[in-house]
Amino acid sequence: MVKDTTFGSRALDTVVHVVMVLVIIVTLFPVLHIVAVSFSDPQSIAEGKASLLPSGFNLSAYRTILFEDVHIPRSFLNSICITAAGTVLNVIITTLVAYALSKKDLLFRGFFMTYIVIPMFFGGGMIPLFLVVKSLGMINSYASLIVPYLISPWWLIIMISFFRTFPQELEEAAKCDGCNDFGTLIRVVLPLSMASVATIGLFYAVSYWNAFFPALMYLNDFSKYPLQLILRDIVLQNSLADQLASQGNAELARDLQSSITPQSVQYATLVISIVPMVVVYPFIQKYFVKGIMIGSLKG
């Protein structure tokens, strides 16, 4: 290819590089800043000395969170259990249902496809769903965070289209060897579909880890709270302080902030909640990109 060295081309390159550097800074700065402040000593946070690098390295906030406060370790554990159980259940059910629907000659297939597509466009809404969950007796149980969200129609459809591309010859061969549909799925289809299964599993896992609204609607018991809901409480305290401050009660706001949760602890809680994602996402992002590409082609 001819190398383009005209003025216009170089100007374009400059614009591109400037924008890219800006994107990197704007994306990373808030996260690095939060991490830096969480390791700073409380005094210098109050004086606003920490920015990108911690000022006065100090682990007291983490000591408070991990050893003195019972809520955060417990909610962390709750989140891990909910995410693990939910992801496993979702993956199993989505895979089974998708496999059945991927068969072109399935009885009433057209009807079943319509049946799963309608909920993508229209739903009963927040209140009727709450009433259903309540009348199933699931309020204040971990089941309420998982069972109503077992299948995402979106990922079900992606999984169906994936299974449809599976080589028929392999399945036929398994059938000849005496496998029934379930045996074919378990012994032949699944081992060769692990990449797709992993993709939907990761999607489900991230959405379970990040969810707070189901817990807000269905849980009453503080000891069952997932991490995101604890984090929300801390975030909301902040807005109370903001309220007071903007009404001219700056003194009162400062008192409130320091009396409820010290700033450094707020920062540290936030860091604890995002660290698992920040550490894991570079390794799993390619599955997400792939998933979104498949989705966009189908959509």
């Binding site: 990197i24 709450f130 009433l131 994602m277 992002q285 979104i292």
Partner: protein
């Protein structure tokens, strides 16, 4: 609903019989494992999608939750709301909050589209101009980070950074000799914060679908454009943009149809009574009235009102797109 699905069933059954030449019953028997695999899916959507659709009936009734009563029947036996069952809708539309909620929802949705829709397209176009592949994939990976953070964490980061006295932004303002701004206490800042953080979260992942479309453009097109003396800006305009136009149209339809679909989750975390003037939207009002104040019928009515508008917008924007460009969702 039930009439419609019965006809579908009948039609499906007819085609099944004629195509394979075997009876329904024999086919069901042959596929019993497959149907068994399907069963959890059928039950799931029945209970958590179709049962709530039936539950919409509460919007037309004066429904109160009573202990020990069955949900299915107590909805049926509850008295109708007014003579036509439309009292809750009338109360809502004539109520003091209607116009404010409509305006807030519409403006949040509109600004999210106006500013949030072009951002990933521009980002994808610029990424496409990067020649160093490692640099490109580094920028992309960085840009995906916010997508993986929870909405609570994103709002938390904003609240801490924008906090009065201790937040980085206000410290900077003070250092520059400016007045502090109580960002989360001021209605005029709400939309900016909401839309800005939305763009921050979705920029990287939003660009993915456009980059996917761009990767399919034939390199020869660019080469012959270069031979014809086309500048890179002209190449973007005449080759790159047309290549992603179908994706742009489809994405625009999807986002236009969601202009009045502003979810409750993020707003609930960001707003406070101080900022209701600009922040309160249909979904948060449904949450407060329906779930916090337990006025299920009224809440469901507001929610249904909103959903019906959304469906109308979806159908309308789909029709518009088909007319303008020949691209459509269905």
């Amino acid at each position: 609903m039930s009439i419609g699905s019965n006809t579908t069933v009948a039609a499906a059954a007819r085609t099944a019989r004629t195509r394979s030449g075997e009876g329904l019953w024999r086919k069901a028997k042959r596929q019993k494992t497959l149907l068994l695999l399907l069963l959890p899916g059928v039950l799931y959507f029945l209970i958590f999608s179709y049962l709530p659709m039936y539950g919409i009936l509460v919007a037309f009734k004066d429904f109160h939750l009573q202990a020990g009563q069955n949900f299915l029947t107590s909805i049926l036996t509850a008295p109708w709301a007014g003579r036509l069952g439309l009292d809750h809708f009338a109360d809502f539309v004539n109520g003091p909050y209607f116009l404010q909620l409509l305006r807030n929802t519409f403006l949040l949705g509109l600004y999210s589209i106006v500013f949030g829709f072009p951002a990933p397209i521009l980002f994808a176009l610029l990424l496409n101009e990067l020649r160093n592949r490692h640099y490109k994939s580094f920028v992309q990976t960085v840009s995906y980070l916010p997508y993986f953070l929870s909405v609570v964490a994103i709002v938390g980061i904003m609240k801490l950074m924008l906090a009065p006295d201790t937040g980085a932004v206000n410290l900077l303002l003070t250092k520059l000799g400016l007045e502090q701004i109580y960002f989360f206490g001021l209605p005029q800042w709400f939309r900016t914060l909401f839309v800005g953080s939305g763009i921050w979260k979705d920029l990287g992942m939003g660009a993915v679908i456009y980059l996917a479309a761009l990767s399919k453009v034939d390199a020869e097109q660019y080469e012959s454009a270069v031979l014809d003396g086309a500048s890179r800006l002209r190449q973007i305009w005449h080759i790159t943009l047309p290549a992603i136009k179908p994706v742009i149209v489809i994405t625009l339809i999807l986002s236009l149809s969601g202009v009045l679909h502003v979810g409750a989750e993020k707003v609930l975390l960001m707003y406070s009574p101080l900022t209701y003037d600009t922040a309160d939207v249909f979904s948060t009002y449904v949450y407060r009235q329906g779930l916090v104040n337990m006025d299920f019928s009224f809440g469901a009515a507001v929610d249904l009102f909103n959903s019906v508008i959304n469906v109308i917008f979806l159908v309308a924007s789909n029709r518009l797109a088909r007319k303008l460009s020949g691209e459509s969702l269905w």
